[in-house]
Structure formats: C-alpha cells, structure tokens
Symmetry: C2
Subunit: 251 residues, 2 copies
C-alpha cells in the first residue's frame, strides 16, 4: 500500500493576479487613498516588472471591484466604490443562484424596518427634506406605473441613506436591483398607489418625530403589503426573480 501523505495542492497564482492583489493591498492599507492618482500603465508595468498587457489585466480586476476607475477617461485614479457598482456583482451572483422573490423578501423584512428604525436617530434635516420632496412627487405620479415604481424605489433608498450606515446600504443593494423592480408587476396589476403613499407617509412621519418603533412597524407593514401584492397578483412568490436591469444599452 502506498504511504499517503496529503500534500496541500500548492496554488500558484498568475502574475496579473499577484499584481492586482498587491495594488489592492496598498489601497486597502490606506497607503493610497480615494482620489489619489496612479502612475501611467507603462510606469506601473515597469515598477512591477511585467508588461503593459499583464498589468492591464490586473487593472481590470480592480476595476470590477470598483476600487479604481478613470479620471477624465485617462489617468487611473483610486475610487471610493459606489454601492451600485459593487451591487451589480452581487446581483449577478443572486441571479445565477436563482434567488426567489421569497428569499429577497425575507431579507427585505430584516433590513428595511431596520433602516426605518435607524434613520430616526440619524436622519439630517437634508435627509428629511429629500423624503418630503419624494412624498410630494409620489402624489403626482400615483397613476403612472413606471414613475410610481421609480418613486417607490427612491423612497426606500432615501430612508436607507438617512441611516448613514454604509454597511446597511451595501447589504440592501441587491434589493434595489432585484426586489423592487420585480415588484413593478404588482404595481401594474393592482395599482396600489394609495396604500404605498400611506405607508410612506407614516414612515416619514415617524422619522421626523423620532419614533423608531413606529418607523419600524410601518416599514414592516409596508413589506407585508408587498408580499400580499405578489401573492394576490399570482406573480410567483416562490419563483426565481428575473433580471429587470438587463437592459444595458448597446447594439
């Protein structure tokens, strides 16, 4: 019989990956901060001792992570990742995993009431003003399905932003891409404009009056309404969500 000592299957990584990791480290360590310009591709390539081709591949990895981008279409610049940019990767993953509407709803039930609650303590006057503007705008589009959905999504984003909690913003990013858009079907089927407006007003009022319990409860009711809408419309609560944001413009 053979003596079997299990060796750890050593994984060498290609150069483009090593370069990418190195740059990422430097950025995450704070040595390079958001807004800092990076050297030109040629210069970077020389520093790492690789060719421009290899370096460019490394750059792409960081680009997709959203931590570097281009300033004015030329120079590379360290960037503060936008929630939307990072969220797209997450959303892609969820689509491939065939996440159901129910799963997203469960997460929404955990995060949206929380957002309402937290917003009470942290919303600035500017946040409140933006919410007020949103409510006013919503009233004018109650019967315009597309705009209503847009206003609806905006409202929830504004509440989340009012928490000033980036971790929360990031955690709920996929809801924007997958959960609410899918809900557009409900709006078209049931025209629940009034119910939406009432719930939003309650949440807004609670935030303004610093009543976290109220904000939490009404956001929860609002979410339960969502579920009811999906089920009543027979729109596949247990079905995988489909990518609504599939409409990237190109030939």
């Amino acid at each position: 019989m053979s003596v079997n000592h299990n060796f750890t299957k050593l994984a060498r990584q290609p150069a483009y990956r090593a370069v990418s990791e190195k740059i990422r480290q430097v950025i995450l360590s704070g040595e390079l901060q958001a807004g800092d310009m990076l050297p030109t591709e040629l210069e970077l390539a020389e520093q790492f001792g690789v060719t421009r081709s290899t370096l460019r591949e490394a750059i792409r990895l960081l680009e997709e992570s959203g931590i570097i981008g281009r300033a004015d279409r030329k120079r590379l610049v360290v960037t503060l990742p936008q929630t939307a940019a990072v969220g797209r990767s997450v959303s892609s993953a969820m689509l491939m995993h065939r996440v159901t509407f129910k799963e997203l709803w469960q997460v929404a039930m955990g995060l949206e009431p929380l957002a309402g609650k937290l917003a009470c303590a942290s919303a600035t006057d500017e946040d409140k003003q933006r919410l007020a503007d949103n409510l006013q705008h919503t009233e004018t589009v109650l019967d315009d399905h597309a705009r209503l959905l847009e206003a609806e999504i905006d409202f929830h984003n504004l509440v989340a932003s009012a928490t000033h909690n980036y971790a929360l913003l990031q955690a709920r990013a996929p809801l924007n891409d997958l959960f609410y858009p899918a809900w557009g079907a409900v709006i078209r089927a049931l025209s629940p404009g009034q119910r939406i407006l009432v719930a939003h007003r309650r949440v807004y009022g609670a935030i303004c009056n610093n009543q976290p319990r109220e904000a939490e409860r009404w956001m929860e009711k609002h979410m339960i309404d969502f579920r009811r809408g999906i089920e009543m419309g027979n729109l596949g609560f247990d079905q995988p969500v489909t990518s609504a944001a599939n409409t990237s413009d190109q030939n």
Copy 2:
C-alpha cells in the same frame, strides 16, 4: 449669452467592456449555465472580432465577478459565484468607506436574529447535525482563542446556511470578513467562552425544537453581548474596522 442646452455626456465604452457585458448577458439570461465550458480564448476573440488581448481583459472583469473561472487551470467555465468570492469585493468597498464596527453591528442585529428565526423552519437534519458537531467542537476549544473564534464564525455560518436563503447568505457575507474577525480582540481580552457556548446552545435548541421566537431572541442577546464585549474591552465600537484578512500570502 450662449444658448445652453445640456447635452448628455455620451459615454462610449471600450471594447473590452462591451465584450464583457455581452458575455455576462448571455450567462445571466440562462443561455449559458453554470458548469458550461466556454470556447478557447482564441475562438472567443474571433467570434467577437477582437484580439486575444482585448478578450482577456474582458474575461478578467467577469472573473472578478466570480461568474466565470477556470476548470483544471485551463478551459474557461461558467461558475456559480461563491459567497466568499463576491463578498471580498463588498468587504473591500466597506473597508475603503471606513465602515465602523457599530455600523456592522447594526446590520448584524438585523440579519443574525433573522437567520436564527428562518433556520427553524428550513433546517434539515444534516444542518442540525452540523450545528451539533460545531457545539461539541466548541466545548473543546473554549480556552483556545484562535480556534474559539473560528468555531464561533462557523456556528453563525452554519445557522445562516440552514436558512437555505442565498440572498441572506450574500447579504451577511461582509460580517464574516469584517465583523466577527474584529471580534477576535474581545475573545482575547475577555475570554467569554462560556457565554458564547450558552447562547449557541440556546439557538441550536430553538432551531431543533422549531421555536423561531426563541432562536431570534437568543441570537439577539448574543449580538448584544458582542456589543457589550467591544465596549467593555474599549476596542473602538465607533472606530472603522480594519482588515484582518489582510494576510494574503506573497512575497
């Protein structure tokens, strides 16, 4: 005075990005499924009418999203994104945004009790067995700080997995990378092995007996303990978390 009509600043996208988007679309539309092999780089390049260099840059973008990878280090293959892979991008973003421990804790307060609650309804016998194994293992490492932290993280992952809710798994991914590791300092400072074990046992018991309320409450208590630990240890509850997983191995 000049007539000022604000034109939308048209943004042309480079070829590597267009190619990347196209492939992503095909995958997300389901036309290509996880496990499917892609043609060779040369073949793909010819199909798109670009050179291999350009195509490779496109591949890097998708690679970072975790939706394609390499089977046996050669052929490209459509991959089901791993939570860890996608989570890394998210974690990077959070680090750059200087997310505080408090922010992460707030998210954890929203998601971990939820995970406990949902797990009650969806945990399989196998899930329960894994939890039981984890508890048994935890008892043996109560005084080994490193292993205790590891077991602690494992437990929460197991509970989350038991929900069989991928959206939830993805949403709480950054907690694994940033929240719990940072909590290692608490373990070293306070040696709260017993408290941890008690809470875990309660959660486990509630899941086995299908008592969602109990599971939720004990998970919540557990999280509050976390916060207390951080504050008692004076470990910077309001400070940005630092990347503990910064230790990637390379020269």
